[in-house]
Every structure is written in structure tokens, then in C-alpha cells.
Symmetry: D2
Subunit: 346 residues, 4 copies
Amino acid sequence: MISFDNDYNRGAHPALLDALVRTNMEPCTGYGFDPYCESAKEKIRAACGCPDAQITFAVGGTQTNSLVIRAMLHEYEGVVAADSGHISQHEAGAVEGTGHKVLQVPGEDGKIRADVLKAFLDRFFGDDNHDHMVFPGMVYISYPTETGSLYTKAELTALHEICKSYHLPLFLDGARLGYGLESPACDMTMADIAEHTDVFYIGGTKVGALIGEAIVFTKNNMPAHFMTTVKRHGALLAKGRVLGVQFDTLFTDDLYFKISRHAMEMAGKLKDILVKTGCRIFMESPTNQQFIIIENEKMKKLSETIAFSFWEAYDENHTVIRFVTSWATAEEELTALEAALTALNH
Amino acid sequence: MISFDNDYNRGAHPALLDALVRTNMEPCTGYGFDPYCESAKEKIRAACGCPDAQITFAVGGTQTNSLVIRAMLHEYEGVVAADSGHISQHEAGAVEGTGHKVLQVPGEDGKIRADVLKAFLDRFFGDDNHDHMVFPGMVYISYPTETGSLYTKAELTALHEICKSYHLPLFLDGARLGYGLESPACDMTMADIAEHTDVFYIGGTKVGALIGEAIVFTKNNMPAHFMTTVKRHGALLAKGRVLGVQFDTLFTDDLYFKISRHAMEMAGKLKDILVKTGCRIFMESPTNQQFIIIENEKMKKLSETIAFSFWEAYDENHTVIRFVTSWATAEEELTALEAALTALNH
Amino acid sequence: MISFDNDYNRGAHPALLDALVRTNMEPCTGYGFDPYCESAKEKIRAACGCPDAQITFAVGGTQTNSLVIRAMLHEYEGVVAADSGHISQHEAGAVEGTGHKVLQVPGEDGKIRADVLKAFLDRFFGDDNHDHMVFPGMVYISYPTETGSLYTKAELTALHEICKSYHLPLFLDGARLGYGLESPACDMTMADIAEHTDVFYIGGTKVGALIGEAIVFTKNNMPAHFMTTVKRHGALLAKGRVLGVQFDTLFTDDLYFKISRHAMEMAGKLKDILVKTGCRIFMESPTNQQFIIIENEKMKKLSETIAFSFWEAYDENHTVIRFVTSWATAEEELTALEAALTALNH
Amino acid sequence: MISFDNDYNRGAHPALLDALVRTNMEPCTGYGFDPYCESAKEKIRAACGCPDAQITFAVGGTQTNSLVIRAMLHEYEGVVAADSGHISQHEAGAVEGTGHKVLQVPGEDGKIRADVLKAFLDRFFGDDNHDHMVFPGMVYISYPTETGSLYTKAELTALHEICKSYHLPLFLDGARLGYGLESPACDMTMADIAEHTDVFYIGGTKVGALIGEAIVFTKNNMPAHFMTTVKRHGALLAKGRVLGVQFDTLFTDDLYFKISRHAMEMAGKLKDILVKTGCRIFMESPTNQQFIIIENEKMKKLSETIAFSFWEAYDENHTVIRFVTSWATAEEELTALEAALTALNH
């Protein structure tokens, strides 16, 4: 079976496993106070061009999102997100579980438009009854979005300006951050992300790590006693080294960016193959997720040799399916996919 | 520096890392639906003598405790625990963060006595005003306890009988379960634990794994849609394989028990060394944590070469410190400790 | 100033105050165990044609909604509501404050259509990833809705059928229940409401009481130890008699229905006046709230003598405003309104 | 039946009912923006000698306590309370329901001693592991306490000094505040209470009101957007006037203090009767609750004519029972009680 179903179907990039093996028997202080966490943070600060960034590691996107949100919101506040946002739909109410509402605004191509945000906020604060409503307390976006789209630098800057004018922190979910930054369509660096957000996280789980996400507070705004909230959230690892060693490796010699670039090169070739073999593209997507519309019978046949993921029903006879590349995608896998699609479509 | 400060200062048992390396590039289904999770569950069921046990993996003790508790309690219920229990003191209010009170009862040597529990429950249900109070909805114990003590089989059975008579599930926190089961003072097997509890977890983080705990529901009582609660709790790993591979290895050829036994042998020798070198024992402890009372000046001197952990102030001039062995403790470390203590005390 | 701004701008119907005065110095057991609560429940059961109904009193709509919802949902569930629903918009996140998501579906005229609900539920349970999503655990509707519209008996029955087929309780928010039932457009009795819902509440605050809502569980489905959840929610009055005496009076000699009918007669006359005086009707509304579109300058002028409420901006020069009648509306007030509108429009 | 069972068994002081009747048909703005709320606040500010006090009304003690606590604590904080505190025992986990732990310290006679609090806080902040623990975020005391005891001015001042030195707000639960202030044992005024706390509430439910408590923030420290938290907590009455009118009356011509003084005079006479008739006093209590130890058989006999409340079992043959006076207690009731006790004991 050739796997294009998602970007978490393999373990870790071998360099990370090597580092875990190499450092395995060194005694380290627990709870993130080990030298690998320290070194990783230093390297991430450099990569962000943000020497004062405050960094904490956590495990997994849902945990990270609800942790950051609960720590930053006041009791009476909620978090603004696109209706298609991961926290709106696919995190099983983790945010609500901490007592806070997700305030959904209509997304466009997975993104929140600055004017839509402004209209929402103007309307809220202009409403005579807004004391009876959940206050917007921060804004959540994902980059790339859930469908793989990207904010341009101009779009992100505009969004951040609106947030600043309303004193709302902007939080960027970077579960697939590397794939976004290495997309040919991207006009930003990690330093731009750091500049135009208040907090973001660098996804490890989907970009080469076994587990792990790095939360970066960029404006000297880590909430007071954040470590206690991390603990309380069940997100504090006794063996913090597991995250430190991995992120230290990912941010040594630009490994994070190199393996992301590889995934994007594979995505480019994947796109070519889809077009060349006559697949019907569902929507343009500039990152590592590609979507096609396929007849149900062909889908069934394809699934015998290729793992892909179901996206949504298109009509009675067609389905939207998703192919995903990652740091682990090999050329031979693309070759096998091309052969399978060619056989299917001709 | 020789490390006796805790049982999570090293990475993973090499066999677990080997297995992670060996399986690393195999594509696996995410979220725990991989074959390694399945195999690990099967082996754990066998080790528990409980063929119908329902098993889920999570990451870390605090996460696991608050997850199990929130999933099992009704809205109006709290969890009974010893005042010294980990959830009572050292989990930063994780349980309360999910809306539930920890109902503290006085512990004795870290344990809840069956008669104390019975008296507490009788008093609650006998109180005319108990509708104005938090209902006891389950009972939490740890094995070994936070100070390393152990319930005897008779004590556990008695506690479980009280729980059953009040229809309360008994939850056993086994963060250090292996060290308890392999203690010379232990008169139980893992099957006994499974029989006399309703849910327990097998600690991996402190017993050879990088991360990971295995939650075992023993009475066909996994809460409905538990996976969704796991997700909502931020405890569902995309790469569930990381936990599956490790637990599969730990429960192959009794590795979990063998490495626990090693830790206990080291603890036995540690105890001998403490006595032989004239240390003043703070309290008897049958598992892998040993406590001495030491003069503050000596403590300072010792800390130059040996890592131990501060337990509590004893008096103005003395401190209680803790030495901990684990699966990773080497004979040479004990030799070095003996030399250091001999030099200190003579 | 003549008041048409809302239906809670006066105190209580005089008969309720009389009863409070009359019973004032009788010692009563607290917390709802007084004879007035008992008598009120008996009368409400009769009015509902539901001899086994389980009834509890609470204070205010937001409190009641979040109380019922937290008590009925499981940990992993949320409540389905129209996007215009009171719990979706105007209760400051009270439901989310108890850990549960409000799952918004598009409303039509403030109502959830049965086919829209069915499609939502089919899609949820048909989604391969629904374990990563908040489970629908109950359905919330309001009657009359926030804009005063009414479900027909056929619509309510159809909705309840869908709920039953998915084993979801249907909860009806009856903050203005009396005004709905006494509307000329209504084809249901309170017994029909009881039959075709699983729990509903009879609003007192807006229908003649100082404070108070009566929660009615109609299917022998009051959650276990509901009183403790009421207490925990801060909704248990020491002087439960205050609610008991009022509801006992409201349900003696059909007072609740009579005063509701009065409000609806006033609403009918109000509607006639609005038409007669040439106001531009914003939308048809069959209950005690009537909406017009008015020029901003005229609105300003009108506000000098008449209290109404701002609903929403219509365009740059016009506003939608709301007039509300209630049990307390007097003929002279209508006369004064007619004069004011006549002067304004001619 | 003569009622000494509690201080909420009658309705409201007649002057409050009169005011409700008198103002009943005046249209008022909702949600606490009526002139009666405004006037009541002004009078309370004067009574507190605190012209800048920020005041909000709520309904009932449990609601008020959990509301104030959730609004003032940060995510990672809990509230310190005596183990006998109402929030520790008898509010069904309302505080935990908002996500926060009640940090219990041993009380003495229902009170927290300043040195006990200091030791607790010193120990917490001195603990190397306190980042893994719930931070103390405020201190809760009750005045009078649950057993009727009173802090002296010196004790309250000392407690407040400790709180200030740790930057923790001190919250005083004054469910029976009037009875405390009018006790012969009291050496404080309401202004002293205001000065030496950061927030407190003036209990209405037990001191002459139908419902209602006045929350007083004394240090210009009302949490931002508190009204929204009140709404979200289900504590915002549409008819805020019901609270405004009652508190306005209570604080006109010192009525609150006068009716409290009456209750205390009745309590003094009650105490004399208990002694004179040979009852065995359980503990000295300076306010409106008096406790005796009584033989079970006599208790049964007494309960035929007198309503009192069960406090706790004393031994196999004796019970502690409580007699309570209030603003509503009449001389004739005391006469009847004396007759009953005389008959019983002689």
C-alpha cells in the first residue's frame, strides 16, 4: 500500500530518532528544564528573528490550541475563528471544554478576511446588547488552513492590524507551518509570521517529529504562570527532553525547512501527476494537500493500492478525496501513484 | 553527576527506542488504529488476565488522571482521594479544571483505609443535607502511593468491596505500577489489580517509555464515546503508533516486569547502602523511592556529585531527601553513591 | 413615558404580589420543599396534561437554559440550536461556561426546520471523522422564537420525531410561552408542548412573575440528583416559596393563560395601530413583539414619549425597532402610542 | 409549629414587600439599570463609608460566591477557604464547576487564623514544586462564620495584612452580615468590613429580603466586564428592580441594621432561655444561631411543637441541634419555646 492519506502516517525524521537514541541515557532535569529544550528555544528564537520570544513545547494540535486559548482568554471572552477552523469543527469541543466559546465568522477559502473580521468586531462593539454576549478575546487562524490555503503577507498584516486596533491577540495555528512556508505560493518567512502574530505554534507532529509542537509568544506576552496552566492542561511532559531533543534537531542546520521543502517538491510533482493523468482537480491548493473529484467506482478501485483520504461527498456518484505529501514522501511512491492513476483513467 | 533524583531522568529503555526506529517508516493509520496499538492491547489484556479489558493509551499521569475522571463522573459528582494523593496536591487543579471537586479523605501512609472510606461514605449519604454537597462519584488511589507505600491485596480488596457496595468505580493510578508489582513487599499480580479495580493505568513514562500510559477499563465499563473525550482532552495522538510500539515492546517477553524488577533490585541495594553508610532513614518505603534525613551541610556537600531530590524540611538543620532508582539505574551509580555517602558520613 | 420596550418592565401581576403578601409570615421549609411549590407543581402537571411531569423552579432564562443543558448532556456532547437562538447569541456563553458547545444550525424565521435538523444529524453521524467532533446531545428550540415566530404543531411534531429517531431530547425554551400559546396563530395547547418535547420551561419572568421559570421534564427523564446540579448552578433558592407562591397563583384559575391572552389582544391592537398609522412593518410576527422600519429622525422624535427597543440598523437612514406588549399593557398606553404615531406620520 | 429552624423560613420584611407593591407598575429599565438599583447602591456606599464602592446585586449565596470567585481568579488559581467554609462543604461544588479548586486550610471555630494563612502561603510559595500546584488567588472567609462565630477587628485586619502582602484579594461572605454586625460581640462597623476586605457581600436572603445579595467591591477592583460574567453565570435578572427596590428599602433609615438588631435581641433572649431551662450548650456562639446537645428522645418530643434544625450527631444518645432567630422572630415564639423546653427538662 502506497500512502498519501495524511502527513502523520510515518514516525519521525531519522535525524530526530538518531538524536533521541544518542542522548537517551543522559540524565536530564524534567519538565522542560533540560539543556535540549533550552537549545531548541534558542534556535527557534533565531529562526523567528525574535530574540525575546518566549517558547514552550506541547504535544499535538488540539492540546496546543485549547491550552493557548484558555491561558490567554479572560473569563468572559471567546475566540474568533473561521467556521472551517480546526477548533470550530474537529477538536471535539476542546475549547468549549475549558469554558470558552468559539465565535465563528464565515471563512473564505479557509481564511478570515480582514474586512470580515473588522465588520464582525465593529458589529459586536456597536451592539447595544454586547454585554449580554461573549466578548471576542483573541483571533485564531491556521496557516496553512485546513484546506491548504495560505494567507499572503498583506492579508496577514491587515488581519493583525485589525486585531491590534481592537487589542486582540492574533494566534496562528501552524500545525503544518513548514509546508506553508516552503510553498512556492508563500511570500513570508518565519520571522514574518512572528512579527505579524502575537502567538503561534510550529507544528512538529506533521513535520518530522514523533510528537511535539513549539508554542512561540512573540510579544513578551506569555501569560503569567503559564507552566502551571500547561500542567493543569495535562500538557507538561515529565520527560520534556523528548520534545527538546526533537526541536533542537529540527532547528539545527535548517532541517525543519529542508524537510518541508522536500514535502513541497513532492506536492508539486503530485499536482503534475494528477493533471497529467487526467484527474479532475477539486480546488487549487498551494501546499501539501491536493484534492480531486473522483467517480466512486474508480475510488474503490484506487483504494486497493493507494491510501488516500476521504474528504467529502461531491454528488451521488463522485467523491472528493485528498492526497497528502510530507517530509517522508518518496519519489517511488509518486511513481507508483502515477501508474495507478494512469491505469485507472485510461 | 550521578542521578538518583527521579525515575524519569533518562529517555526510554533501549528496546523501545529500537522498536521505534525499526518501525519508523512503516505507514500506519493514525489516532491509535495502528496494528502496534492493537497488539499492545492484546498483550496487556493477557498480562491482566482480563480478556475483555478495554484499553486506551494516553500521555502522562496528570493528563490520564483528569481524562479518566472527567469521563467517568456525572456532572454532580467528585472524586474521592487521599489528601496526599497526586490529584489532590500536585496536578495544578487539572481535575477541578474539568469541573469536578477532589473530595479529600485523610490518608495513612499515603493510602486510604477501607474503614476511613466507609466512614466517609456513610457520613455523606447519612447527611440530611447531602443534596447540597458534591456526590462521591469514584475513588482514586495510587499504587505505589506518592511516598512509595503499597496496598496489600487484602487492603485493596476491602477498598473495592466498599466501592462496590456504594456503586462507585475504583480507579488506580499506576504511574509507577511496575515498581509496585515487583517490590518484595507486594502480594499482588497485575491480574489482581485488574480484578480489584474498575479502571487503572499502567505507567510507562516512569517505567521505561519515552512517554505513555495505558488506561485499562476492566469491567466492560469504558465510557461511551471515550475516544471523543480523549480528543477533547487534548490526549489523542495523531501518531498513536508512538504509544502502541512502546507498549507492545514493554509487554513482549515481560519486559515491563523485568525492567521493574531491575529497579527494585537496585532499590534493595540502595537501601542497604543507606543503612550501611549510617544514613538516618526517614520512613520505610517498599518501592523505588527511599527517603533519608540529612544535615543541611552534608546535603549541600552531597549535591556536588549526586543528584537527589528535596522532599521536605525536617527541622532547622535537617532535610528529608529522596533517592529514586529506575529501570535505568546502573550498579556503578550505586557504587558511586556508596562512596559519596561513606566519605560524607565518616 | 409610555413603555413598549419589553415584557419585563413592570413588576409582577398584582395577584402574585397579593399572594406573596398573604403568605409572607408563614414559616415554610426551604429549598423548594414548601407546600406552595408542591401545589404549583400539581397545577402545572394538570395544565400540561402530564400527571407524571417532574418539575423544578429556577430564576431567569439564561440560568434555566444552561442548567437544563449541563444536566442533560454527557461530557462529549453539545446542544444543537438555531444560529438565532438565545443560547447561541445572547447568553454570554453561559452554556460554554459549563463546558459544552452550542452546535449552530441555520434557522429560518428563528425556527429549526425538521429537514435541516435531519440533514445536520445525518451528516454528523455519516461523517467518518465524527469521533473528532462534538456529538449532538440534545436539541434546543424557543417558542415563541426570539423574533416572535411560532412552530406549528406539525412542525414541532416533525422535529420531535427526528429527535426521537436519534435519541436526542428536545428542549423548548418557553420564556414567552404564554404569549405563544395565546397567539391567534397557535395551534397547540400546553399539553401538546408537553407531549412533543422532552423538557421545556414555562417562563414566568416575562409573563407576570417577579422572577421564576418552571422547568418541566415530561418523559420521566429528570436527570439523577438534579437538585444537586441546581444547587451547584447557583439556582437553588433558600426561599423556594417565592417561586412556589407565584407559580401556584399563575396556575390557579388559568391566570397564566388569561394574562397571556390579554397581552395578545393588546398585540393585535398594536398591530392594527401600526398599520393604520402607516408604519412600515419589518416582518410579520404572530406574538407579542412587533417590528417596524422607521426613519432615524422619526425614531428620535418618537423616543421622546414612547419607550421601544432598538432591534437593528436597517440602512443608513432607517432602523428596525420593536414594540412589545405584555400582561401589563393597558389600553391607554395603546391610545397614547396611536396618537404619537399619528402625529409622527402625518 | 414554632419555627426556629433557620433564618429564611419567612418571606420578606413587610417594608420590602410594601415597596415592591408600591413600585410595581412603574416601568423600569431592565438588568439593573433602574433607579432603585442606583439609589440602593448610593445608600450602600454611604453605609460602607466607601464612596467609590462598585456594587452589583445577585440572588443567593452559592450563586454569589461562585460568581465573585470565577470573576476574580486567573485560570491557574484557586480560592483559599477554611475547611468548614460554605464553599468547601455545602455548595455542591459550584466553585469547582467554574474550574477552580477550593484550597482548604484548617479553620478554628470556623475562622482562618492569620498565622495559619501565613504559614499556608509561605509553604506554598516556598515549595520548589509550586508550579505544579494550584496557586492561591484569593482568600474567602465568612462573617459570621457557618457556626456563627465572628472575627474581631484585629483578626480581620491581620488577615487582610497577610492577604495584601501576598497580593491576594480578601473576599468576605456576608450571608448573615447584619447579624454579625449587630452582635454584642462585634467590634466592627460595615465601614470596617469594607476597609479590611477587597470584596464582600451583604446578605439579603437571610436578613429581610425575599431574595438578593449585594456584592461590594471596595478597592475600585470590580473585574472588567463583570456584567457579562454575571450574565454568563445566570445571575443577571431581567427585573433587576426586584433587587434594587429591596436593597433600597433595606438601606433606608438603617432598616438593615435595625432588623438585624432585633434578631440579635431575640438571640440573646433565646440564649437566656436555653440556659434557664437547663439545656446543655454545645458551643458559645455570638450571633443568631444557638446550638445545644439534647437527648434523642427529648429531641423527638420537642420536634412535635418546635421546628429546629439537626446539626450533627453528638453520640449514640445525643444530638446537636440548632435554634436560629431572624428579623422575623417574635417574642411569643420565644415564650412558646421556653414553655416547651421547661416542660421537656423538668
